[in-house]
Symmetry: C2
Subunit: 404 residues, 2 copies
């Protein structure tokens, strides 16, 4: 088999969120009757239950009516949109952003991640990646033929920090890692890195000249007023770094395909060159919608966070009510990552069985690291009652497969 065929064979997406409809029928050990109820898809948020920012569609229409000047922007995004969003992101993250040189508007944060990795990972380059972390990070490193160096996140045994092993991180940096990539709040566990952890990461990156890429997609959805440290606001931040944020999650604007990346000029310059051949630009009229980001109606964000906190509380309690189940309380974002007791089936088959017997879609933990054979991820940005009902059924199914 040639190199490309090998590469695409490894790039599986059948278990990727949203792709479950493509799964081939396989022989499953189905136990008991179906448990009917709402067909919740926990692989992504429900933008019907938590609607897009009010006014977002009006802005799109306004952008469309402005015409060509909005349809055809520079590859890095329209000047007006960059000026506006750079100022807002600078205020939020606590450090200035030069709108001409230090920010690019991308087709979703996925677009930002792809461009960033495409600019930073050459063949054979070592990339440190947290386990567990967003599943596509691993695939991106594979696609660009980098070498993945996993860094364990000991999230379950901690409660005052995320649990990153800084000694192991330093070891990996010593061994030649060029890029360290992590999400904060962490996807899929919802833990937030402590100030000490962020400072530790920054200081190691400076010492070993490692580029840092932090995915802060969920950094606006923080619960219980948990402290949050913006890496880029540190006095001693490293020279080479990039932050990624976008309005697809908490703000439910995913259907517009918008993201941003901001940081070192040389990285942004490269990303624009790559964007020029990948998609030319983020959708022009959609870029105009960024005007409502960080500019939501009074009380909108507080209410959204409170609603998600309530769903989280009820789900966490439900998971913990089953013996042998463990879950860390989400500090930020819309995910929980429950660990189940040993079962008679693999987590991947369990997800398929759950879909067959309940109509509920969950994401197997192994998408986030090979060792998470008893975990699954839930995006709880759903209707409250449906979410509770659905996870209750998932756990009832789990009981049928619990190892004796």
């Amino acid at each position: 088999m040639d190199l490309l065929s090998e590469k695409f064979k490894r790039l599986g997406i059948d278990n990727a969120p949203g792709q479950e409809v493509l799964q081939k029928d396989v022989a499953l050990d189905l136990r008991g009757e179906p448990l009917p109820g709402p067909a919740v898809n926990f692989s992504h948020g429900d933008v019907d239950a938590h609607i897009p920012t009010p006014g977002s569609l009006d802005l799109f229409v306004e952008g469309f009516k402005k015409g060509g000047c909005v349809a055809y922007t520079e590859y890095r995004g329209g000047k007006g949109e960059r000026d506006d969003v750079a100022a807002k992101l600078a205020a939020f993250t606590g450090a200035p952003i030069d709108p001409d040189n230090e920010i690019i508007i991308t087709p979703g944060t996925q677009g930002a991640l792809f461009l960033a990795l495409g600019c930073l990972v050459g063949r054979g380059d070592k990339v440190a990646i947290v386990e567990p972390d967003y599943f596509d990070n691993r695939k991106l490193v594979e696609f660009f033929e980098g070498e993945l160096v996993p860094v364990k996140l000991d999230y379950l045994s901690q409660n005052t920090c995320a649990g990153v092993n800084l000694d192991a991180l330093e070891e990996s940096f010593k061994e030649g890692v060029k890029l360290f990539l992590f999400s904060n709040p962490n996807n899929p566990t919802g833990v937030i890195y402590s100030r000490k952890e962020i400072e530790g990461i920054a200081s190691l990156a400076k010492k070993y000249n490692v580029t840092l890429l932090v995915d802060q997609l969920y950094s606006r959805q923080i619960f219980d007023n948990h402290p949050y440290t913006h890496l880029r606001a540190l006095k001693d931040r490293p020279d080479n770094m990039l932050t990624i944020m976008g309005p697809s999650k908490t703000e439910s604007l995913s259907g517009f395909r918008l993201g941003t990346a901001f940081g070192s000029k040389w990285i942004i310059d490269r990303m624009e060159k790559l964007q020029a051949i990948v998609t030319l630009r983020a959708p022009g009229y959609s870029q105009y919608v960024l005007k409502c980001w960080f500019n939501e109606p009074e009380g909108f964000m507080a209410k959204r966070v409170a609603e998600h906190q309530r769903i989280r509380d009820d789900l966490v309690a439900l998971v913990r009510s089953h013996e042998g189940c463990a879950v860390r309380t989400t500090e930020g974002g819309s995910y929980i990552f429950p660990q189940l007791p040993p079962m008679d089936v693999s987590i991947s088959d369990f997800a398929k069985i759950v879909r067959k017997l309940t109509g509920v879609v969950i994401t197997p933990g192994t998408e986030f690291g090979p060792q998470f054979t008893r975990n699954f991820r839930v995006n709880f940005s759903q209707d409250h009652d449906n979410a509770i009902n659905a996870i209750d059924r998932v756990l009832q199914i789990m009981e049928r497969y619990r190892s004796k």
Copy 2:
């Protein structure tokens, strides 16, 4: 310098259409006074002069209101949208398309090109590319570390075919080319491949097992009822091929970022895997807009083609009125690619001088192949009078630099 730095150094975009605002000031040999007039940007079409398909915005709004089911589609595009667009493209191109397996909806046709090349070009793979042809084709081959094998298009001396050299093409196939990529109508010359040429290409591809990728972006905008042969409709079409089309040009829907690619199942499967890590999907609400594609109001397309034909006629006559200027009459699409007489400045400096003295943006021929040192490309999808006025001024400036 490391491999990645080298690669990104080669990926220049300063002369790329739409990026001219980023050009650094350089010392230019400016002759004579500015020629004021409309600031036409010939690097892309003017969607204010030729407005988006009526009803397109309404469809976007309808899609938005449908909510989550439109925002979150499968990576290859929503099932309903694929069913609809596959049927329409099958009817247009004259051969069936399986909507489940043989089509993917992409963020623009640029997105389609990127995904296709990413799936078909491995390190060191030989790729035959027409010269002149769309400038990003060359950059994509470079990015994926393929080896570019140029195939000359002798477009100026022909008038019953595009002028592809089939003998040279066969030579390149013999030497191990894996992929042949070309646009039809050709960008930037506007010529259409004859039936004999298309059949010749198909037959060579079959003989040497070369994959074909044909960019038919402008195949709905054909002038003078010129015959057009759809490669994929040939009885003897090769097994491995892909066609790319989208509604960004003739239909002026670029601001929605929509494209499609359709062809061999294995290529579409790979493209979806790649799309999953590049942008996840084409913008969800935008996908819904595809319902108006090939479904335009009565007479809309005929009028649009007629309007462009009139602009073409007047521009071609204007170019030919200057001694030593040559241009082939556009058979399809919105481009002319005039050849100028020898001048005292390079074509790249000439484009910069034109921008300084007239406010008009043209694209240097060297973006389309290193040998086009006396050509420039014009996207004439503009207001008629502005376009004539602007090219008149460009040619007046040319006269100031004509070599004695």
